[in-house]
């Protein structure tokens, strides 16, 4: 347990709608270990974004416990949380949420400035980050002048600017083509390796999910399946089916796993598949 940087226990979330309460999360339990790349999959509207928002502390759960770095977030003050977000946790949003009045470089500089870096230092670092996500030429463009993929990469650069311990990514490759998506995944893996960070991400892309150390499936408000992905023997088709019906995954893989384009720098953890806890 001590290796977990993030623990989630019996988390409930319900929205009060005009038509009545809508229970989105109904007891989510999982943990994120150090240097782990965790993927959460599930059909659209299953509550992935809701869960990530709770983890990031910008939304409040109805019930349950979330511990970050061993600290229960319900014990943390608003300001503690702010500092957490500033220094320890970064998030890449599904909608990017870039600041429209700032150029790409300024968007990346913003968290550095907030963390107290000087403007000069922030500028240098921001350029390096943009280079890392391969959009340095776009540095002085405003968000409305960027494509979705470019925006996404700016958002990523911004999220990792202050080298957080935990990176929360809501569909980090959604707007990217396969090559770029792979590039981002490489970047994440490299960060995990070099900066000791842990990543929790959602995705609809089985290929992306396949690169995770673990894949959690969210269904009916619960993590209905938790299985350790054997990267070598990942059933692509089966994984694809997760998107439609997570039940499918219960079945044994029927075909050979597809080899990945690029070898992971990190050795995948080998472990047996867990059956779902229902």
């Amino acid at each position: 347990m001590s290796s977990a940087v993030l623990e989630c226990k019996d988390v409930f979330k319900q929205y009060e709608l005009r038509s009545g309460p809508l229970e989105v999360l109904k007891g989510v339990t999982f943990d994120l270990k150090k240097k782990e790349l965790l993927a959460i999959v599930g059909i659209s509207g299953s509550g992935k974004t809701t869960l990530l928002n709770l983890l990031f502390g910008i939304d409040t759960m109805t019930e349950g416990h979330i511990k970050i770095d061993g600290k229960d977030i319900s014990d943390m003050s608003k300001d503690d949380f702010r500092l957490f977000r500033r220094d320890k946790v970064g998030m890449i949003f599904q909608e990017f949420y870039l600041i429209p009045s700032m150029t790409a470089i300024e968007n990346v500089m913003a968290p550095l400035i907030i963390a107290g870096k000087s403007e000069q230092l922030a500028l240098t670092k921001a350029y390096r980050l943009l280079e890392r996500v391969e959009i340095r030429p776009m540095a002085n463009k405003y968000p409305h002048q960027l494509s979705n993929g470019q925006k996404q990469r700016v958002a990523i650069a911004r999220a990792i600017a202050n080298t957080p311990k935990i990176l929360i990514c809501d569909e980090p490759t959604r707007a990217l083509d396969t090559t770029l998506g792979d590039g981002i995944m490489d970047l994440l893996e490299e960060l995990i390796e070099n900066e000791n960070i842990a990543v929790i991400m959602t995705t609809h892309d089985p290929q992306v999910a396949a690169r995770a150390d673990r894949v959690l499936i969210i269904r009916n408000g619960k993590l209905v399946e938790e299985k350790i992905v054997d990267k070598e023997s990942f059933d692509f088709r089966a994984a694809k089916a997760i998107y439609r019906d997570p039940e499918i995954v219960k079945k044994e893989p029927t075909s050979k796993p597809k080899t990945k384009k690029k070898a992971s720098t990190k050795e995948a953890k080998k472990s047996s598949k867990n059956s779902k806890t229902s």
Binding site: L83, A110, I114
Partner: protein
């Protein structure tokens, strides 16, 4: 078809109402904009109309009479004229009187025809006959004119009573060698005098003197100078040396009066209802028509009507009504505010427009919906504005130096002269401007949404900018050209005379209007400089205050959609006008103080019952008083005009009097005063008189009809002046100074005493040592002589000026009203803008919060941004305001005052000017605090999804 349209309209209306209710805040601001603009314009109009009506009403009501008819050669005409008057509906009342002579001490002298010389030259100088003017009339006439007199005792001639002038009482006291007092019984003769112009001597002839015995002195009077027709008919000089005798006592002598052609006077008072029935513009015409008819029917009679004073009253109000232009800044700021609100609404409701479009509404329908909404809201604004204008118009004149005057307020509320035409006119103009703008803006935005491509959009934006620029340049050119023409006109008008005419005030009004328009464009330029150059250039300063977070501040100032910054223009405009109002108000205050000095003439102006001029010695005994000068007055004629002749010790007067540069026609005028002192028969005349008669210093000038027996006297001109402290303009015609419609000449005190035998005096000027308690001195003066006034607020309160003063407020009131309205508007504007900007930026704030920025930092940066914007804009605006005020001030003086006797100077209220940006900023911060707190409390997740 039509019923289908009906349904559509009903639907649109209900939708419009629903929209109004769901955008209450913005709608309230639009209503506010309309209300302020309409009420400011209307209230000034309403005030000037109402006050003119009230003043003329008061004036006509308080007048003793409004015309007199005078006939000497053909006295039998009078009976016919009286018959005519009885039939004329215009005539409310008339009364009769004779103006002739009375003799005292004629007992035992037994003459019917008598030659009367001045008392000192009579055959029996030890027992002389006293000659005086006699005004023979009835008690009802006296009751009407009593306000012109100061009376000791009763102002009655009933029961064989007579009234003596103070001067005549003194003369009788010396002749009878006893104090003539109220209650004394006297004998007298009524006679007729014929002056002999050749010698200035007075003979009594061709008249049977009628001897009357045992008349009781009921009262002793002095005459106030005032606007009485009786005074115009008899002249105050005649009245001040006279007796009043009851016409009922004449008896059979009345026939003798007629045969002897004693001047018969008919005093006429018009029916107020009848003469004002067809409007005030017709009053003067009706009076003139009346006068023409009398002249036509009775060619040998002389008729005088009071229309010239009435005309000057009407003129004064016409001039005052031009002060409506002083409200132009408020209206401009109100319009700017409404336009900004429209912009915000259009931006705010773009999604709504898109939705309507998705549902199949075409551009026209969407536009119609907005226009209907706007018209409904504007309607409320206009109604409110009209209602408010009634209150403001009554408040404007109700505040005087002495505080709130409830009676004036009620008078205005009771009988407002509301001009429907004007109200509808300005409401429509405002509607057309604002609805027109709103439609254009909405149409533009709607059609802009159509264009999908970024390229087309930017091309369109560029076009928009070019149109905007083109319109600006075009309007500026027109305004500048118009301004040049108006300026030439104004400068010519202002230089024309020392008293501003209606024409000069009107052209000054236009000048101000055009200046205000020009200001809008210059304001835009300054706004561009402030936002694009100045605010961004302060990087170093921001870094010093907020360190690395200056990054966010600079970004805010650099952003393309300068939401918060677009209020820079509004703040600039407002501070410009605030500077103008502050400077104007303080200059007006200072100039009014100078004017008061000038009116009083010295530290202390002391007005008494007639006393010997040596009373000045008693006055100078008082502790704290430095020097005193006595000003004794009489009248004389120069070139057929009456002049007030003032005798003065000119050396003392030069020291005590509050002279200023404009008093003198020439540079070495103090020298002139000295020369007057040294020249026994010297005179100082006014510049206009010198020009009219083509005279210069050293020339001789004859003055006739001076008292003292000699008809014709010659004086040497020792100086030419424009004005004299405490006396007003030397050429008269100065309403605001409330002085008589006559010119003034100054002569040597010695000449006055010795040659004209006038040593009594009613006016003293005194200088006071610095730091002396003026209340104590005033009380001591009053202790010396009861019934004495020191520095009275109104000088000659019976003159037309007092009627003007009642309802024309101090011009400062306009600036204060303006200040209040403008500041109100800018506060609303700042709150609205900040709230709008905060609303637009909530997502951005939330994003920043996800990166760990604290709400405190966000609020701090916002506050700094606001401070920088308001401070820089208001400083820019104040500087522009200074330039604007200095450039326009001399040209608009005819709006601020009625004359330029004292050069109108600008007074810069430095403290107020410096405080303005601070106060504006502080008010803005307090105003936006609730919004900042509200947005700071919003949950990040909700704000993100905004």
């Amino acid at each position: 078809m039509s019923s289908k349209n009906n349904v559509k309209f009903r639907f649109l209306f209900s939708l419009a109402f629903k929209n109004i209710l769901s955008h209450k805040r913005h709608m309230v601001i639009i209503i506010f904009g309309f209300t302020i603009s309409i009420s400011m314009l209307l209230s000034v109009n309403l005030w000037s109309n109402t006050s003119e009506d009230l003043a003329i009403n008061d004036f006509l009501g308080s007048q003793d009479f409004q015309a007199y008819i005078f006939s000497a050669s053909q006295p039998e005409d009078i009976d016919e004229i009286i018959e005519d008057l009885d039939e004329n509906v215009l005539v409310d009342f008339y009364s009769t009187g004779y103006s002739t002579a009375a003799l005292f001490n004629t007992e035992n002298k037994n003459f019917t025809t008598y030659e009367v010389l001045p008392e000192s030259s009579q055959t029996d100088p030890n027992n002389p006959v006293s000659l005086t003017n006699a005004f023979i009339t009835g008690q009802e006439t006296l009751d009407r004119i009593s306000f012109v007199f100061n009376v000791e005792g009763n102002f009655t001639i009933e029961d064989n009573g007579i009234l003596l002038s103070f001067r005549q009482a003194q003369e009788l006291s010396s002749i009878y060698d006893r104090d003539i007092q109220i209650g004394d019984v006297l004998n007298l003769s009524i006679s007729k005098y014929i002056p002999n112009p050749a010698y200035g001597e007075i003979y009594l002839s061709s008249f049977q003197t009628t001897y009357y015995e045992d008349y009781t002195v009921k009262g002793i009077f002095t005459v106030n100078e005032g606007l009485s027709i009786v005074q115009s008919a008899l002249s105050s000089e005649v009245l001040s040396d006279s007796i009043i005798f009851p016409i009922t006592s004449l008896g059979s002598a009345e026939a003798t009066m007629k045969t002897n052609e004693v001047p018969y006077v008919l005093f006429v008072k018009f029916d107020k209802e009848e003469i004002t029935k067809d409007g005030l513009d017709e009053v003067v015409n009706k009076m003139q028509l009346f006068s023409e008819t009398i002249k036509r029917d009775y060619p040998t009679t002389y008729i005088y009507i009071i229309e010239s004073t009435l005309t000057s009253l009407i003129n004064a109000y016409s001039r005052a009504s031009i002060s409506v232009v002083l409200m132009i800044p408020v209206i401009l700021v109100g319009i700017v505010m409404t336009i900004f609100t429209i912009n915000i609404i259009v931006e705010y409701r773009q999604e709504e427009v898109a939705l309507l479009r998705d549902r199949g509404a075409d551009t026209f329908q969407i536009l119609l919906l907005f226009i209907i909404e706007f018209l409904i809201v504007a309607f409320f604004g206009i109604i409110l504005g009209i209602a408010l204008s009634f209150i403001i118009s009554a408040l404007i004149p109700s505040f005087s130096a002495s505080g709130f005057n409830g009676a004036t307020f009620r008078a205005f509320m009771r009988e407002p002269s509301f001009s429907f035409g004007f109200a509808i006119g300005i409401s429509f103009t405002l509607l057309i401007i604002l609805v027109g703008y709103a439609s254009l803006k909405i149409w533009w935005e709607i059609s802009l949404r159509h264009k999908s491509s970024e390229h087309e959009l930017s091309a369109r934006r560029k076009m928009e900018r070019n149109i905007f620029l083109g319109v600006n340049i075009g309007v500026v050119t027109i305004v500048v050209i118009a301004l040049i023409f108006v300026l030439i006109d104004t400068i010519r008008n202002i230089q024309e005379s020392q008293n501003f005419s209606l024409a000069s005030t009107t052209s000054a009004g236009y000048t101000f209007l055009l200046f205000c328009f020009l200001l809008i464009f210059v304001g835009q330029l300054i706004s561009y400089l402030v936002t694009d150059k100045f605010q961004v250039s302060l990087k170093g300063l921001y870094r010093r205050i907020v360190f690395n977070e200056a990054f966010f501040l600079i970004n805010s100032f650099k952003r393309k959609d300068k939401k918060l910054n677009s209020m820079t223009f509004a703040v600039i405009l407002v501070s410009t006008f605030v500077a103008f109002s502050l400077i104007s108000a303080s200059s007006v205050t200072q100039n009014q103080m100078l004017e008061a000095d000038y009116k009083n003439g010295a530290d202390m102006r002391i007005i008494t019952y007639p006393v010997d001029s040596s009373f000045k010695n008693n006055l100078s005994q008082i502790d704290g008083i430095n020097e005193v000068v006595a000003l004794s007055k009489t009248t004389g004629s120069i070139a057929y005009d009456d002049y007030t002749v003032v005798g003065v010790d000119s050396i003392t007067y030069s020291r005590i009097g509050k002279w200023d540069d404009s008093s003198f026609a020439e540079d070495n005028s103090f020298e002139n005063l000295k020369i007057l002192h040294e020249t026994y028969a010297g005179v100082i005349i006014s510049h206009p008189l010198a020009e009219r008669l083509n005279l210069t210093i050293g020339d001789d000038i004859p003055i006739v009809n001076l008292p003292g027996g000699i008809f014709h006297r010659s004086f040497v001109i020792t100086g030419i002046f424009n004005s004299a402290p405490g006396l007003g303009l030397l050429d008269g015609r100065n309403i605001e100074m409330l002085q008589q419609n006559e010119g003034i000449v100054l002569i040597n005190e010695e000449f006055m005493k010795t040659e004209l035998e006038i040593s009594s005096c009613q006016l003293f000027l005194a200088s006071v040592f610095p730091d002396e308690n003026s209340t104590r001195i005033t009380n001591e003066i009053k202790g010396l002589l009861s019934n004495t006034q020191v520095n009275p607020e109104l000088i000659n309160e019976q003159f037309i000026g007092s009627f003007i003063d009642t309802y024309i407020p101090n011009v400062r009131v306009f600036f204060y009203v303006q200040l209040i309205a403008i500041v109100l508007i800018i506060i609303v504007l700042i709150i609205m803008f900040t709230d709008f900007t905060l609303n637009q930026r909530t997502q951005e704030f939330a994003i920043n919060q996800t990166m760990g920025k604290s709400t405190r930092t966000i609020s701090k940066l916002l506050v700094i941004e606001l401070i920088v914007i308001i401070l820089s804009a208001s400083i820019g605006g104040l500087l522009l305001g200074l330039v604007f005020t200095y450039a326009s001030f001399n040209l608009i003086t005819p709006i601020l005052t009625s004359h330029n006797i004292i050069p109108y100077t600008i007074n810069l209220p430095i403290l107020e000017i410096v405080l303005t940006p601070v106060v504006l900023t502080a008010m803005a911060l307090v105003g936006v605090l609730p919004s900042i707190i509200k947005y700071g409390r919003e949950k990040i997740i909700t704000a993100l999804r905004n």
